[in-house]
Symmetry: C2
Subunit: 433 residues, 2 copies
């Protein structure tokens, strides 16, 4: 219930898919946006690299800003919507200039915030403005609001997420169609579900940027991208997916950030999850986030992880919040209150693991492998070897009991040195979510 | 980022499970609550019917208010937390007096708001205070915030919910253990999962109160309890549950509120949902809400639907919001902006249906039944009759194609009149969610 009767005025920088989506939301839902904001919200100006491109949306009512810098300095604007993208360069310069000119920031730029979120949050606080970024994580899912406000009474212990729709689509499609990663990726690119250069998605970087923001918010800490261990999905084989299925699991690219006292572990990696569990049921381009709070217990949210309309829905929710005067610190608490934690590596985790080995089908190989595991104190829950290949090799899948991940990593290092073990072993955590 | 440096002061009226849970959240999580609120929040006073009862929580630091009225008038308090319960009487009088004395209201009282929410929202607006009720719907799930703020950019078309943990527990347990409703209910009562008088839960009233609030928020309309058709779960039989399973479904008590133009339909009834779908996977005491927005598409949230700690988590989230100055109209928009809609009955819905008939196993019975359906223009998707009982009767399950619910209701009325049809036929909607 902001008392302001003046319109809330914004400028939009960047008119790609999401930028245009934002314009469409305002044009189509003016009525609900106005009543929910209790005031008018006006798009004053827009700007993008190419003015004359056909975008399928009517921009004629808005001024075309003469430069990013002009928009950042425009005294009429209460907030700017940064839809330029990129962790540095234009987007960063524009945001800094806009903050210094007293404008609130609405952005979907996870890369920028994952790398420079702390500095920007300080700058925003010094200038009494807010940085909002609901659209930066999990598209249309209001997970930032859920963590920053809805679960604010809780000490969060863990956040899990399926945070990249392209990876989840590829893994789902591989399983359904029994085709290879490369094959499914190619089809996804042809259909426009994956970028021409897919590395940002399939190497886990995009999901990692999002996870870092969730961790910072959940625990009220500085985002720390460099301490995050990241593994993508390009090495996941149809054989792993079939083993998972046989054992009651699915493979998902799972981000996890977990706090125990002052220790925090962040990881982004393909994991086994129960096929009938919450995360295992999330298929295709959907995203999902599960939080564990000390009072709320588990909260699980699923929704569209990307796309023009869901992402624009989140951008506009942020704008409405700002118009209503709901200004919040970037990471949920003021900069001076950000907590100090020790970032730990994944070796400190306790979990069950999946191991896949490609071995020569010779006498004694199983004995050698199990001896390596025993030697490192890793005990075996399940062991599958189904026959052998024509080339005299065999595929071995092992599920360990829950143990220190470090021990399993050590055991794998020993196993690798066995002359009967071909290729690099596959190791994935099993998360019971 | 409220600028207020004064503590935010509250009184808590009602010290049952949730009221004591709220005190525990403040005692255990003072640090995160203070930093996220950017100010101290102080419990000044408490009150309950019995002062001397042992509650397992230390109340010695708080004043014991001399009466509800004294607390409502206490000039030191910024907000009162109403945990008394009941749709009328003390709770209502207390809230009205507190609002008139300029206090924000935090409540978990769905019955009160479902029946008197409109009048109270007007009173709150006139007195410049907020009524918050995150804990009133779906326990620890921040669904009020999600609808009121997270999805604020959207025109919501439908909200579905599993909103009563007791019902969902009973239906899950019946399926798992193949026991009758009465049997499982008795066990649930013994374990404390169901009340001694379970009618509020199993007749769907509690869930209906919650659904009415979700509908009011989703569409920005007056809550309208009387237009809601409510059917409980006490008539659901093991046979229905088995038929559902055979056909790929589970039975859940599903609340649905759906808007099409100016028409809104509200219903609370046991429905068939796909067993591998989002709602079908929600088992035990969990609650779940699915929203469909024009931009956000589907958003699905699952979490603890009740219990001291999850519900208290939601109460305290509201208090933090108020402490930060995030004041919102009760139903998302100001009273004068509430939309006018036409409340329609379920007969206007289009859906597939499940019909169960208990019939005499005599020649021509199937022909008679199918003729009734044909006569009312209801076409059959699946038809199951597996043998017959020793008493010369048989059980027939029918799944219709998607059609007007009214047509199926009419067909059922004709079928009932057949002399070969014993007992009252069972009719449930099938919702593909």
């Amino acid at each position: 219930m902001s008392d302001s009767t003046k319109p809330f005025r914004i400028g939009i920088a960047g008119l790609g898919t999401v930028g245009c989506g934002v314009v469409k939301v305002f044009q189509r839902n003016t009525d609900v946006i106005t009543t929910r904001s209790s005031r008018d919200i006006e798009i004053i100006s827009v700007i993008a690299a190419n003015k004359n491109q056909e975008r399928g949306v009517d921009l004629s009512k808005y001024e075309w800003a003469s430069s990013l810098s002009d928009m950042a300095q425009d005294k009429r604007l209460d907030a700017v919507v940064e839809m330029i993208g990129g962790s540095d360069g234009q987007a960063k310069d524009f945001i800094i200039e806009a903050i210094k000119n007293g404008k609130h920031i609405v952005t979907a730029n996870k890369a920028l915030l994952a790398h420079h979120g702390f500095e920007l949050s300080k700058l925003a606080e010094d200038n009494n403005v807010s940085i909002t970024y609901e659209a930066a994580v999990a598209g249309g899912i209001p997970i930032i609001k859920t963590l920053r406000e809805g679960l604010a009474a809780n000490k969060i212990t863990t956040v899990y997420g399926i945070l990249n729709g392209t990876c989840n689509y590829i893994l789902s499609k591989m399983r359904e169609t029994e085709r290879s990663f490369d094959d499914v990726l190619k089809e996804a690119q042809e259909k426009g579900f994956a970028e021409a250069d897919p590395s940002f998605d399939v190497d886990g970087i995009d999901a990692a940027h999002k996870l870092v923001l969730l961790g910072a918010l959940a625990f009220g800490v500085k985002p720390d991208f460099k301490s995050l261990e990241i593994e993508g999905i390009s090495h996941v084989t149809m054989r792993d997916i079939k083993h998972a299925d046989d054992l009651g699991y699915r493979i998902k690219l799972i981000g996890m950030v977990q706090r125990d006292g002052d220790s925090v572990v962040q990881t982004m990696a393909p994991c086994f999850v129960p096929k009938n569990g919450a995360m295992g049921s999330v298929e295709g381009a959907y995203n999902a986030v599960m939080t564990q709070g000390d009072f709320s217990d588990e909260t699980f949210i699923v929704g569209q992880g990307a796309g023009e309309e869901p992402t624009a829905s989140s951008v506009v929710a942020d704008i409405i919040d700002l118009a209503k005067g709901n200004y919040l610190p970037t990471f949920g608490v003021k900069v001076k209150e950000l907590d100090k934690v020790e970032w730990q590596g994944t070796e400190t985790l306790n979990c069950q693991c999946y191991i896949h080995l490609h071995v020569k089908d010779v006498p004694g190989v199983i004995a050698d492998i199990t001896a390596c595991l025993k030697d490192k104190n890793v005990s075996i829950d399940s062991f599958i070897q189904k026959g052998h290949e024509e080339d005299g090799t065999a595929s071995v899948a092992i599920i360990t009991h829950s143990t220190h991940f470090k021990k399993v990593q050590n055991a794998i290092n020993s196993v690798r040195e066995l002359s009967s073990v071909l290729d690099k072993p596959t190791l994935m955590r099993i998360e019971d979510i």
